[in-house]
């Protein structure tokens, strides 16, 4: 018998691997959501909790895109198509958060308007 696998056998192994990856990811996502819920009630430094929450949220976000949305199995062009919008959106959020800081905004002008 040769060591080479037939295409259908390779496909079947690939699908089985994906299935296990999906189950592991679903369990991890559920566990992370539970951790997030507990985390906000813990008496720890606010900055630490904030950083951990952002990190966990990003992990969930990237995991769903990479595995559930098949982006790691797909072509780079699709990553670029989505990534462009995502980068612009993230940049907009960050820029606006910095530009519209409380110390820069003229509240008197807003109320006069």
């Amino acid at each position: 018998m040769s060591d080479a696998h037939s295409p259908s056998e390779t496909d079947h192994n690939g699908e089985a691997q994906k299935y296990h990856a999906f189950i592991n990811l679903a369990l991890a996502l559920a566990a992370i959501t539970g951790v997030e819920l507990v985390l906000v009630y813990l008496p720890i430094n606010q900055a630490v909790i904030f950083t951990v929450l952002i990190a966990l949220s990003l992990f969930k976000f990237i995991s769903v895109i990479a595995w559930f949305m098949h982006l790691i199995y797909d072509r780079l062009l699709l990553t670029l198509a989505f990534g462009t919008g995502l980068v612009i959106a993230t940049g907009t959020v960050i820029a606006l958060m910095f530009i519209l800081d409380r110390s820069y905004v003229d509240f008197e002008a807003i109320t006069a308007f």
Partner: protein, 200 residues
């Protein structure tokens, strides 16, 4: 028939990427910008007027975490539905799709319950900047979920017509799946940025 022409008939362009799939990814990229602006609007108003409203007494983190869990599990089932369609297993596709629809409806039910509670507590669309931006953001997301549920219901019933084949329909199911997963990732951000951060 040349290879290029054949590829075009098959829904691919010269880069060997399915046109429908590429369009969906581009749409999702643009939808990212749409939600990005709404999330930043909410956060900016929270930053500028932190004293205007304290939602911690109103938000039920347990309910929102449950909604998040439900949506994440629906994403898992959606991934299985797409995988089943690629294998040509229509029965498994239907089983998983019904699961996604069911979870989607639970999520919408939770959101309707939450909104009703908030309105009874005095938080309305016109009660201030917090109400306006909160309902606009979560409401728009809810509309996206409702569209996704409707899309999947149509797909579920279409699978009984006998017109679905593993090769052509797998791409259509995958596109519906992409949309559903996107709705999920937007909620992941909303859950952290709008709900959890209020409690720290």
């Amino acid at each position: 028939m040349s290879d290029d022409a054949h590829n075009n008939d098959d829904g691919h362009h010269s880069l060997m990427v399915n046109n429908k799939k590429l369009l969906m990814w581009l749409f999702l990229g643009s939808d990212c910008m749409f939600f990005g602006t709404m999330i930043s609007t909410h956060l900016i108003y929270r930053k500028l007027y932190p004293e205007s409203y304290d939602p911690t007494s109103l938000f039920s983190l347990e309910l929102t975490s449950f909604s998040t869990f439900i949506l994440l599990m629906s994403s898992f089932l959606m991934a299985l539905a797409v995988s089943a369609m690629h294998k040509g297993d229509i029965k498994s596709f239907r089983r998983n799709t019904i699961g996604v629809i069911f979870f989607g409806l639970i999520f919408l039910g939770c959101q309707v319950y939450e909104f009703t509670e908030f309105v009874h507590a005095g938080l309305t669309l016109s009660s201030g900047t917090f109400g306006s931006t909160f309902y606009m953001l979560t409401g728009t997301h809810g509309v996206h979920v409702a569209i996704g549920v409707f899309w999947l219901i149509c797909m579920y019933f279409y699978s009984f017509t006998g017109k679905m084949d593993a090769h052509q329909s797998a791409v259509d199911v995958e596109i519906a799946g992409l949309y559903w997963h996107f709705v999920d990732i937007v909620w992941i951000i909303i859950f952290t940025a709008i709900y959890l951060i209020e409690f720290i």
